[in-house]
Amino acid sequence: MLQTLSGPCFVASLLIFFVGLLGRAVWYVRGLDWRLERVAYGYHKDRSIPGAINSIAKWLLPGGTAGWRAQPVAMLAFFLLHFGAVLIPLFLLGHTVLLEQTTGICLPSLPPNVADILCIASLSGIALLVLRRLFSPTLRQLNTWKDWFVLLLTFLPFFTGLMAKFDVNAYDTWILLHVITGELFLVLAPFTKLAHIVLFFMSRAQLGMDYAIKRGGRARGGSFPW
């Protein structure tokens, strides 16, 4: 069973993940409309490209924007979660081996202890997000079962993966659960809010271009002060 799951099923979920997310990105770009949004996407490239890059880069930097600086707890939770969430799936030794075996793609891998630290950091980030959601009336009003489901979907691969490493006696069970939950994440990502994996970049780029092309890029002579 594990062989099937980590063989053809793994490749299939990777395909769904990449094709699905690519599809959403293409759908996003094709759906942009300069008349409706009132943004001259095809003009002022000297301003729009730096504007898009700046809008993404500043938000990828902890403390890079007034928004992050105003909410240090949220910032801490998000970055703790996302460092691991980006690096571990791609560069954990077990993952790179599996990827090479199934697809022939070879990626460098993280030293195991670094990966462990990142994983624990991500789980701490998730724990912080949970606490924030539970104790903030603002977030209680906003969050629905879908938001909790997405958080659970993110939590499970980290948790099961870590348990597989440390609960050696039950390794087979944990690794099976890890593969299942990991693939579930991959398969559902394009169809849930997890699609922000790619749409974050699209949306940020769009707003960066909007400000650079139309809303003050000319007068500011530089990027928007996020």
Binding site: R35, Q71, Q141, G216, P225
Partner: protein, 461 residues
């Protein structure tokens, strides 16, 4: 009253405007709105054809992280009411409308109206604080357009849109009234300023000046002050006979067809008079509607207006910088001063550098609000909020945020180069009994402190 006052059709005749104006406060209008039938098929079609990937993605990927909450002054001034979180406000209105694909009733549409106009001024501040770059103000502006087409628009906004369509101005100022006011202001001031002119419809002037209908209608001295400043700076200027009004209650109303009509009048005047530059008065949304959004409504692919357009603050900074307008150092503002950044041309057009440049010339003790510039808070009356009686209570609660900001600077004067901000600041001083803080447009301040060049004749009045 038996006539139909509330319908999806825009007002296009003087009679229709007067009938609606006669319905004091829109009592009958809102009563009829409750009975209005939602054209669900048309609504679904509009949503399908105009709500595209950007907006749908914004609504879909919103992580409900709540980072937008504190960025909204309505949330802050309503004791952190979760129902005032920008994300909640848009998800429970436009989000719900899309989920139901337009299968909604009048009650729901009125709820959308109350949120779109009564809980959001489209200041776009929340968009700056969202990690995903979700601009809720933009979405509320879009929602206003959807609501307008179905007839769910606040009474004053419906009248405002009609005024623009019928009079080409937000108020009933006819072409004749406008030209008469120009002549009157010229006559009134030419004794003090011999040679003062308000040249109407002059072809080939360097500057074409456009303004807010409130100025000729209620504050004609503002027009006179503009003329004096052009006169003193030796500016070769003119005003158009038609297309002189740059405000857009149509934009606030969500009447985007009406917005395009306004634009056509102004851009036609540019075509006719061929000025080098167009200068617009001290109004925020007028600049947004004419210069920032306007080119798109006029169908201009580059997003640029046909000739350079300047907000008044850009022009003032220019004449101060080039020495065409000189300030008498003795007459600079001595009291502590602060500056209100209008969302529509500071956050949304980057002109904060010019207002600060002006302050460096005119004020000795300038104090920034916190936050300021692009991160400023709305005055509390933007987006049409000042003018809507139905949301007066909500507006007055929101005004407290700006008042607190102003008080924290210790300023005794708020320089306010925007009509909406000016109104909101005037009203907050009254509502919260604050009598020690003054507020002013730039024009009267500049006239009081400028040095009159030797070539300009001035007879002290």
């Amino acid at each position: 009253m038996s006539q139909i006052l509330c319908s999806p059709a825009p007002l296009t005749t003087k009679e229709a405007i007067h009938e609606l104006l006669a319905d004091k406060g829109g009592a009958e209008y809102y009563k009829q709105m409750r009975q209005l039938k939602v054209n669900q098929d048309a609504l679904a079609y509009d949503l399908q054809s105009t709500c595209k990937s950007r907006t749908r993605t914004w609504l879909n990927i919103c992580a409900h992280c709540g980072m937008c909450a504190d960025s909204c002054f309505f949330y802050k001034t309503n004791n952190n009411d979760p129902k005032q979180i920008p994300s909640y406000k848009i998800q429970s209105t436009l989000g719900e409308l899309l989920r139901r694909n337009g299968r909604v009733d009048a009650e729901f549409m009125m709820h959308c109206m109350d949120v779109a106009w009564g809980q959001c001024t489209c200041c776009n501040r929340c968009g700056m604080y969202c990690p995903h770059g979700i601009d809720t103000g933009v979405m509320f502006s879009y929602l206003r357009g959807i609501l307008f087409k179905q007839g769910f628009t606040p009474w004053e906004m419906k009248i405002g849109s009609g005024m623009h369509r019928v009079y080409g101005a937000q108020m009933d100022v006819t072409e004749e009234d406008w030209v008469d006011t120009c002549e009157w202001m010229c006559d009134e001031n030419s004794e003090e300023w011999p040679g003062l002119e308000i040249p109407v419809e002059k072809v080939g002037a360097d500057v074409m000046y456009i303004c807010n209908a409130r100025e000729p209608k209620h504050y004609p001295e503002d027009l006179a002050q503009a003329a004096i400043l052009f006169h003193v700076t030796g500016t070769n200027w003119t005003v158009p006979r038609v297309g002189w009004e740059n405000t857009s209650l149509t934009m606030f109303a969500g009447d985007f067809e009406g917005c395009a009509m306004n634009l056509k009048r102004i851009y036609d005047a540019v075509e006719r008079l061929k000025p080098k530059v167009v200068v617009g008065t001290e109004c925020g949304h007028a600049h947004r509607a004419t210069v920032v959004e306007g080119p798109y409504w006029a169908g201009r692919e580059s997003g640029d207006p046909p000739v350079p357009f300047m907000h008044y603050v850009e022009w003032v900074a220019h004449v101060l910088r080039t020495g065409k307008l000189k300030i008498n150092p003795e007459k600079k503002l001595k009291m502590p001063c602060t500056l209100q950044d209008a969302c529509n041309y500071v956050r949304n057009d980057g002109l904060g550098r010019y207002t600060r440049e002006i302050m460096s010339y005119i004020a000795e003790d300038f104090r920034e609000m916190d936050p300021h510039n692009e991160h400023n808070f709305c005055c509390g009356g933007g987006g049409g909020m000042n003018g809507i009686g139905r949301y007066r209570k909500e507006r007055n609660v929101g005004l407290k945020n700006k008042l607190d900001q102003i008080r924290a600077t210790g300023a005794e004067m708020v320089v306010t180069p925007c009509h909406n901000c000016w109104d909101a600041i005037r009203d907050m001083m009254e509502v919260y009994d604050e009598h020690n803080i003054k507020w002013s447009f730039l024009k009267p301040l500049l006239i009081n402190m400028m040095e009159i060049p030797p070539n300009i004749e001035h007879v002290e009045s």
